[in-house]
Symmetry: C4
Subunit: 290 residues, 4 copies
Amino acid sequence: MPEDLSDLRYQIALANRLLTNEGVLDAFGHVSMRHPTDPGRYLLSRSRSPGVIEADDILEFTLDSEPVAPPTVQLYAERVIHGCIYQARPEVTAVCHHHAPAVMPFCIAGVPIVPVFHLGAAGGETMPFWNQRDDFGDTNLLVVKPEEGRSLARALGSHAAVLMNNHGATVVGRDLRELVSRSIFMCHNAEYQLRAQILGKVTTLTAGETRLAGTINAMATVTNRTWEYWTLRLDKAGGMPSPVAVKSKARSKTGSKARPRAASVTAAPSRTTPSRGRKGKKRQTRGRAR
Amino acid sequence: MPEDLSDLRYQIALANRLLTNEGVLDAFGHVSMRHPTDPGRYLLSRSRSPGVIEADDILEFTLDSEPVAPPTVQLYAERVIHGCIYQARPEVTAVCHHHAPAVMPFCIAGVPIVPVFHLGAAGGETMPFWNQRDDFGDTNLLVVKPEEGRSLARALGSHAAVLMNNHGATVVGRDLRELVSRSIFMCHNAEYQLRAQILGKVTTLTAGETRLAGTINAMATVTNRTWEYWTLRLDKAGGMPSPVAVKSKARSKTGSKARPRAASVTAAPSRTTPSRGRKGKKRQTRGRAR
Amino acid sequence: MPEDLSDLRYQIALANRLLTNEGVLDAFGHVSMRHPTDPGRYLLSRSRSPGVIEADDILEFTLDSEPVAPPTVQLYAERVIHGCIYQARPEVTAVCHHHAPAVMPFCIAGVPIVPVFHLGAAGGETMPFWNQRDDFGDTNLLVVKPEEGRSLARALGSHAAVLMNNHGATVVGRDLRELVSRSIFMCHNAEYQLRAQILGKVTTLTAGETRLAGTINAMATVTNRTWEYWTLRLDKAGGMPSPVAVKSKARSKTGSKARPRAASVTAAPSRTTPSRGRKGKKRQTRGRAR
Amino acid sequence: MPEDLSDLRYQIALANRLLTNEGVLDAFGHVSMRHPTDPGRYLLSRSRSPGVIEADDILEFTLDSEPVAPPTVQLYAERVIHGCIYQARPEVTAVCHHHAPAVMPFCIAGVPIVPVFHLGAAGGETMPFWNQRDDFGDTNLLVVKPEEGRSLARALGSHAAVLMNNHGATVVGRDLRELVSRSIFMCHNAEYQLRAQILGKVTTLTAGETRLAGTINAMATVTNRTWEYWTLRLDKAGGMPSPVAVKSKARSKTGSKARPRAASVTAAPSRTTPSRGRKGKKRQTRGRAR
């Protein structure tokens, strides 16, 4: 993998860790990203818990979910989820598969998650269900075969997310930050919806409100602010990925103009940086927060 | 901005962070304060997550929510909430807009929050709803236009807080400490109310109890004690704003006599104070706690 | 106050902090203890949040809740709760008044907390309600007047705890450790009971089971083990009171034989002990845990 | 006890702490393991809170739950749970008894926990109830007598876990990692099931799905990954057991090939390792995570 993907691989590791720290991912689940210059490939970690992924763990796959380089490590069994969605949805550049506690009750009850507050509009007006049982009968519920991945992608259709019965959810985004923001607010939305139902009534946004609020939520001003906020929370929790060396040329290629200082600063130090103890990290956080 | 607002700006940053640490604010939401000597102006942070606001971020606005100095930074889109309420409610000196998880289910279900325990009386006997849809049809639910802010202020009327359908809440106070206390106990009240409903019956305080308990809750002995308590929790969580230099003359103007030691100590060190590492902060906390 | 109460005052401060760390107390609530040699007096902190109380804050009161020494600090308004119960219940040596989130829904719904698991038996078979409104009409719900305290004590009767409508609860114990254990397990019991009700059915212990399990729960082997466990959790959270000097003679008077090492070690260091930084405390914890 | 059990005793202490850190155990509950070379014995801690158990605390018992060496410390009263199950279930090599908050509402309501998501299949299709009252009338609910232990083992039958009315649960596994994984996912499953019921409908896995997903869940690739993940969380929380010296010969006997690096690294340092301060531990975690 050429050096100029270093920052991107760092961002993918970071996205996995942000979503773990916010309670969307745990020992399982994964976040991928489409290759920035080759739309026929995508980037995904080797098989490990998302909260401990490092930039070095991110590997390259074809859209058939075959590793580009012969693998020397274990791979996620469910990577066809990512490949099949990238095949079916050309505009999608980031995918997250998760089993968030907030979402699971809906996947078990078969109750649709509907937009109940402005930030929840990020998930769109409706969210389809996919029941693996319908097409494949009794399985272990993992999405492993290409035909299972394709069936899931068909159920997703043009939506922002698909709920998987008795399993979890898969969310898509036009970039990593929209994906992370959408995944987290989808969980908040689900929590509020369940509690509103306890109170007796679930009032949803109108179609117009969902469209208008959804548009705002997808703007970089929003997704950058939330990305910075969740990064600070992750840093305070001591969960940041190890920093990687980034060539300036590389960064201008893969970096987004909207990237807040947090990411740049973190990615900047070379691997030869001396030990970052707790104290050092704290100071860095403070500097960033100014 | 004259130097003598330093301590006040520190207190506003602190209020934002206290409310974040107690789960009222998150990546969004904001706290403002009316200018202490010019009632036609108010103080509010530049646009950033409330948990990371520093005293330096606090800017001055007219009641039309225009920045007094030409802004070099991004501003909150929803600042008309603050300006319009300061226009409509001369006795109000502090405003908080939030989307607290405890309150959202009520905003979604359209169920009123009612006082169910003595500290919940801080929110008053009734809390009106404001549905942006009623006056403005489909919007992105953000309160951005002056007429939207005025409509919200009208719905608030003379109450302590207004619930905004599918959006959140806006709370007011006669000072920063009452505001913070009221916002947090409103969330506790909402949590207990929802759980009491699960148990089958929600018994509210009587009108007389709400008035009497509300009066006690607003006393400085109560709001100072809770302010100190939440400050200690924030400090332990490593979330205090950076200390600011305060001139003694300035402090005698803006400070309240009832201010507990916590705030004074924290605000005292000058900017030239050497690095406050974790260890240093801990020692300071202990000293304060004695 | 004679020096030989130092350890006891430390234990009372510790009890207040343990209950804060376990979510029973917050900015409010208090724990008292009857004077070990003068049953006509009791020990209670000056007015401050229970999570920050130090041994030095513990003052002596008559059973009429008057301070024995002229006070130079603010006192809890609700101390008659303690005095009136010590008057009415000679065998009680420890009292806790709290507004625990787990218990509040029951106080609001007027639903009795019943023993639903073996450790919950510590609260006894039934727990009476006391509604301040019944005897005193509209109040601010604080228990401030002697007649209010006496009315509460009458409602408590011979029970382990009394639920106070729209306010909180008051719990009693034969010693500090039983009190702490009972207060915490009463909250766990309430949480489980509410969730069992969501599932559809609340099965209680039989009267015989409650008596038998309650007896076990009150044994020193149980209350010492839980005291040690909660102390370790508090220590890990950085919340221990400052250590106090204890004379060996004093300790043999006030100490219980069953006291685990944790308490002894913590209370032992004199005030001249050099700075206990985070690192030092950690090492001490480890030593204790062996 | 011969030196070659050092690593195993460390793993048992670790399992107790992992389950405490994940909210399955608290001040009470215990994890045991069958002796690796003598199936007529099992290993269990002396009586103390599971979150503070060290390798040195692990003692050896006969299947009649008698200590092999004369005890100098207090023993768990309920150890017959372990002995009676090892007698009845030759293939079981690990047992956990707990009172997890997630499971208690089901034990109180008498509502069966059923598999509602793929990882919940680890608990099997059905989970029997055992009501101590049925065979023994009113008790203190502790399982102390051999006949009580045998009655419980009979109720467990060939299942993965048994729910104990108004008390808790007992879970079994073919190895320590399966046991830990099953115990934790049983709690997640219970949480989701309760919330799905709030939403209105609990859809379970089919018998075929439960069998297929259960098989995957029991594979070492899954239980090692979750073990590594929960170990990293425990380490970050500062809760790891003290390291023990392990002879290389001993480790090849008791160690499993699938053991991830985390365990090996942690167990490796000898007792002469210098002070592991917070900083040192952090560095070790990072090294392991790579």
